[in-house]
């Protein structure tokens, strides 16, 4: 039986392969890293590879003891990844191109090291997908209904508070000013950050499958809920303190505050789950 820890010269070949993949993927990965730097909603992208690395490190004992048993089926995964790369590239679909890198890495692990090690590395590899900004088509398809939902709930709440308001699509009209519920306020973007951080939290600090599933699933309602709060607070400010209050400093501050509130709710949920188990 071949164990991973006895494969001494494996590391040299991994470096060769990483360089080859780096050359091919350079024009695809560099713009993605730029997007992390430019877009606050994906700044968690910088953390994702390190968190994935830490998830591997957590299982180092299992890994070193695992048997190396190459599996031919890995080639299927590699070819699938290459097809994703080429079709994505021909159709300028960035998500497909970028995700293909993760698929090819996963395929290589399976093809070279086999199912046992593939199983151990599956969670960190899947986690890498969270560093990729989601595709336009899905973003658009999900953002608009979410935006309308957030607007609708916020309008109901504002009306219940006795504020005169008129809604058209994702636009809120007050007697004094008009507010638009922008993409950022739909919650979809904070869902991505919250999902990335929440998944890391769930995997590192919780070991039960139930806790992990509940925590990861809770990111969606938490993000939508906190974004409703944000729109409601903006509406109240707009009503009583005018447009400047709603659009200026507060709007910036609210973005941060909403994310902070979401993190607090998430950690509280984690603590509650630990107590109940």
């Amino acid at each position: 039986m071949e164990l991973l820890k006895n494969q001494k010269n494996l590391i040299i070949w991994v470096v060769f392969l990483a360089v080859a993949a780096g050359v091919v993927y350079w024009p695809i990965v560099v713009p993605m890293v730029r997007q992390w730097a430019a877009d606050d909603n994906y700044s968690h992208g910088f953390l994702v590879p390190f968190i994935a690395g830490y998830l591997v490190y957590m299982r180092r004992d299992d890994l070193l003891k695992a048997e190396v048993k190459p599996a031919e089926s890995g080639m299927g995964l590699i070819l699938f990844g290459l097809a994703m790369l080429l079709f994505g590239w021909l159709g300028t679909e960035y998500f497909t191109m970028r995700a293909s890198l993760v698929v090819i890495i996963a395929g290589s692990v399976l093809y070279i090291l086999g199912w046992k090690i593939f199983g151990i590395l599956l969670a960190p590899l899947a986690y890498l997908l969270l560093m990729i900004p989601i595709p336009y088509i899905i973003y658009d398809a999900a953002a608009f209904p979410l935006k309308l939902f957030v607007t609708k709930v916020s309008v109901l709440a504002l009306k219940a508070m006795g504020i005169v308001i008129w809604q058209e699509g994702n636009i809120l009209m007050f007697p004094s000013i008009t507010l638009e519920v922008a993409d950022a306020c739909s919650g979809l973007r904070s869902i991505m950050s919250l999902l990335a951080l929440g998944t890391a939290y769930a995997f590192v600090l919780h070991s039960s499958v139930r806790d992990r599933v509940v925590l990861i699933a809770s990111t969606l309602p938490i993000a939508v809920f906190t974004n409703c709060l944000r729109v409601i607070a903006t509406g109240v400010l707009a009503q009583y303190f005018g447009a400047a209050a709603a659009e200026g400093f507060f709007h910036e501050f609210a973005g941060f505050f909403v994310f902070f509130a979401a993190v607090v709710m998430f950690v509280a949920l984690g603590a509650a789950l630990k107590r109940w188990s």
Partner: protein, 210 residues
């Protein structure tokens, strides 16, 4: 098969994909004719207005050329047309579907169906939709076209981009939208749009690449 060989095999596959991507370039296809030559009057229609997109919108859409015009007939009935063209080169953008853009602007889709409209020599696949914002109603016809083929859904457009780039090195595409604003009289709006299309479709074709 030993492990070293597996590494080499994967690297060869990656090199193949990388080489293809490095040498494959899509062509920059010019429009059939420059859009500024688009007739201001034709078959009883007269242009009564022309709009420019804001700088920000141009930066997002990155069209090679576009026209946003309003035409009126003798009887005063008007039609809005928006035609944009993307040459498929590295600096050109691509079509943004109204299915996504309009709801973002506060419009709600009341109805939308895919139809094929017979325009004399050609049948055009298009979307016939009604959007509303407050009391405003807008009847909208739109389609995407690539290499002379008209399409009305986003998935076909994506597939046409992939196969066009793969087999013909062409990704040039155009988007056409004709609309009539009004408060309800839908059949009249549809008749007007279809009349406009019958008159103008050959002209539009003339301004797009084949």
């Amino acid at each position: 098969m030993n492990i070293r060989f597996r590494f080499i095999f994967i690297m060869l596959l990656l090199a193949g994909a990388g080489t293809y991507m490095a040498f494959h370039r899509d062509l920059e296809v010019p429009p059939g004719r420059p859009f500024e030559e688009f007739p201001a009057s034709h078959a009883g229609w007269r242009m009564i207005g022309q709009a420019n997109l804001s700088k920000n919108i141009v930066k997002v859409l990155m069209p090679t050329d576009y026209l946003s015009r309003r035409y009126a007939r003798e009887d005063g009935s008007t039609v809005d047309m928006y035609l944009s063209f993307f040459d498929g080169g590295p600096d050109s953008g691509r079509i943004h579907s109204p299915k996504h853009c309009l709801p973002g602007g506060g419009w709600t889709e009341l109805s939308s169906r895919h139809v094929t409209l017979d325009l004399g020599r050609e049948a055009v696949n298009l979307v016939q939709a009604v959007y509303a914002m407050g009391n405003n109603r807008e009847v909208i016809y739109y389609w995407f076209s690539m290499r002379g083929k008209t399409m009305s859904d986003e998935l076909s457009l994506k597939l046409a981009e992939i196969t066009g780039s793969m087999f013909h090195r062409r990704r040039d595409q155009s988007f056409m939208r004709i609309s009539v604003q009004g408060d309800g009289a839908q059949e009249e709006a549809e008749r007007r749009i279809e009349g406009f299309l019958r008159d103008f479709y050959p002209v539009i074709r003339d301004f797009l690449p084949n």
